[in-house]
């Protein structure tokens, strides 16, 4: 099984790391990534709370919404961080930090 990470589309920006490990990608989360994660989680918790009012399960619904939002927010942030390291998204900061 071919596990080469090469993408069909060529990266538009300088490649910092072609196949960054999980820890490096998470360590590379920027302020915007954390903001995205927090926003998506916050919106999901709110939706969970509001939808839980009628059946009277506000707390558990908030937790479920929070879980979904946290997972989605983390995946979105990870996607952006990995994309910057792989050269698919604008990555001036990463280039400056890693290619000194």
């Amino acid at each position: 099984m071919n596990t080469d990470i090469t993408a069909l589309a060529k990266p538009e920006y300088p490649v910092v790391d072609r196949n960054p490990p999980f820890t490096k990608t998470v360590a590379n989360f920027s302020t915007l990534d954390y903001l995205r994660l927090t926003t998506i989680t916050g919106v999901s918790v709110t939706v969970g709370y509001l939808s839980g009012i009628r059946p009277n399960i506000r707390g558990p619904s908030m937790v479920t919404g929070g879980l979904i939002g946290l997972m989605g927010g983390f995946m979105y942030a990870y996607q952006n961080s990995a994309g910057r390291l792989m050269g698919f998204f604008p990555n001036d900061e990463e280039v400056a930090r890693y290619k000194k």
């Binding site: 998506i40 939808s51 979904i68 989605g72 996607q79 994309g83 698919f88």
Partner: protein
């Protein structure tokens, strides 16, 4: 290793969210402490949120979707066609879920599993759109079908719903078997299931003897299986009964979502996997038959949902024109047709759901609509005229492009049948408009105002239908890219 899965982040998220919602539903709907709360709206809103987050992951991560293409290429192809069809599918799912909330309240519908099954079938259709192997395609189709059998019968106290689910199960298992038989014949004759390998073997390669008949039977069986699933003539028999018997949101979902995913998959199989005259001839015949039957049978209908079912069969015929052409313009026109059809159908079913509040089932019950709710009557009229293909509405643009593609590849008979059936179809669409505006009502029905979610959905879709002609080029250029990528 983890980065291998970046390409399928949207699917992974949606599956995990579905399981979280299933566990949430099971735990709290059976909770004595919380007095066994009805959870369908709660799970519905969280499900809608999950679909929107999936769309965000898909849209924002577009360049990353082609990562590890050798790893995924054994089963899935991530290209422009996959990307845009998945976005359209998720938009349709979000639209369908958002029109359900009022239905849950009005009908006292309390099965949260309904939303979980919708999400699970959406996951399967996301895989189906990108499937690049006969086995992956079959597994995705089966997962989608199994979910649909259950949601068609989800209204347990209704005999019609149970009948619809049972019909769907029996008449859906049969084409699945035929499809698998076709896949096995192709594999037995060629030794390949991957579309890349099949393209090399089947395109421009002369095969003689028993192997040739095996391949022919395989392609025929796969085509029959597909045509059953999209309810094209002559495999359409179950569609009106299932669409009428199922709960209305289920009918809306069945009318829209499988058409998108199956059309995307069929275009890969027919254009890339097994390009040739066999499939084109089958689609040619089924397109003509679907257009004619859809037009003629709908004229005799007295119920709104059955009329929309036959209208859907007719539209499948128009969409099959794109397959029959076998050209890039054909695929482009097919994609334009699917997109506009999805929006028109969401619009139509949102209106039907709004009318269901006052128990409107028959066309004759629409008599007072223009007097009691003129805005709804105008919106419904615009949708029906768009279905009929009256310019300058969006439906006219989709039909125009389909007939143009047919003429471009020399299928003059196909285009002329399409035009004639469109004219015949105008009769029953305009009959609805006449009923709403000019006929005296049989009984006076007071129409209740619709909820905010459906109003917003109707505003968006009817604005698109009305104003599409002003700026159609973004859709044309996007669908052109999608069609080109399916040929590469």
């Amino acid at each position: 290793m983890f980065n291998l899965f970046l390409a399928v982040f949207p699917e992974i998220f949606l599956i995990n969210a579905t399981f979280i919602l299933l566990i949430h539903g099971v735990v709290f709907s059976t909770s004595k402490k919380d007095d066994y709360p009805p959870l369908v709206s709660n799970v519905g809103w969280l499900g809608l949120l999950s679909v929107l987050i999936t769309m965000l992951l898909l849209a924002a991560g577009a360049p990353l979707l082609t990562i590890a293409h050798f790893f995924w290429n054994n089963f899935f192809r991530r290209d422009n066609l996959t990307y845009f069809c998945q976005i359209l599918l998720l938009l349709s799912t979000a639209g369908t879920i958002s029109m359900c909330f009022d239905f849950f309240e009005q009908e006292r519908f309390d099965a949260f599993e309904f939303i979980v099954l919708i999400l699970l079938s959406t996951c399967s259709m996301l895989f189906m759109i990108s499937a690049y192997d006969l086995i992956a395609m079959y597994l995705a189709i089966e997962l989608q079908s199994l979910c649909f059998y259950v949601i068609a019968a989800s209204k347990r106290e209704s005999e019609f719903s149970t009948e619809a689910g049972l019909k769907y199960l029996i008449l859906g298992a049969f084409p699945s078997g035929i499809l698998l038989f076709g896949c096995s014949m192709i594999y037995g004759s060629t030794g390949a299931t991957h579309f890349d390998q099949l393209a090399k073997i089947l395109t421009g390669y002369e095969i003689t003897g028993a192997r040739s008949s095996g391949i022919f039977m395989g392609i025929l069986s796969i085509a029959v299986g597909f045509l059953f699933k999209i309810t094209a003539v002559p495999f359409h028999m179950r569609a009106p009964d299932i669409y009428e018997g199922s709960p209305t949101p289920v009918t809306a979902f069945l009318s829209i979502a499988p058409k998108i995913s199956l059309s995307a998959n069929m275009s890969r199989v027919s254009i890339y996997g097994s390009y040739g005259a066999t499939l084109q001839q089958i689609f040619f015949f089924c397109s003509i038959a679907s257009m004619i039957l859809g037009a003629l049978a709908a004229m005799a209908q007295t119920k709104v949902k059955r009329l929309l079912a036959y209208s859907s069969i007719g539209h499948v015929g128009y969409i099959c024109i794109g397959f029959s052409c076998g050209t890039i313009e054909g695929i482009q026109s097919l994609l334009i047709g699917i997109f506009i059809y999805a929006l028109m159908t969401i619009d139509a079913f949102a209106i039907v759901l709004a009318l269901r509040q006052t128990r409107v089932k028959y066309i004759a019950d629409l008599g007072a609509l223009a007097k009691t709710n003129p805005i709804l009557a105008i919106t419904f009229s615009i949708t029906m005229l768009s279905y009929a293909g009256i310019p300058p509405l969006a439906g006219f643009c989709s039909k125009f492009y389909l007939f143009f593609a047919a003429l471009g590849c020399g299928a003059y008979f196909l285009a002329s049948v399409g035009v004639v059936t469109s004219v015949i179809g105008c009769y029953y669409y305009i009959r609805l408009v006449k009923r709403m505006f000019f006929d005296r009502p049989r009984t006076l029905i007071l129409y209740e105002p619709m909820d905010r979610d459906k109003s917003l959905l109707l505003a968006i879709t009817s604005s698109f239908i009305t104003l599409f002609f002003l700026y159609p080029s973004p859709l044309f250029s996007v669908t052109h890219q999608m069609a080109l990528s399916s040929y590469l």
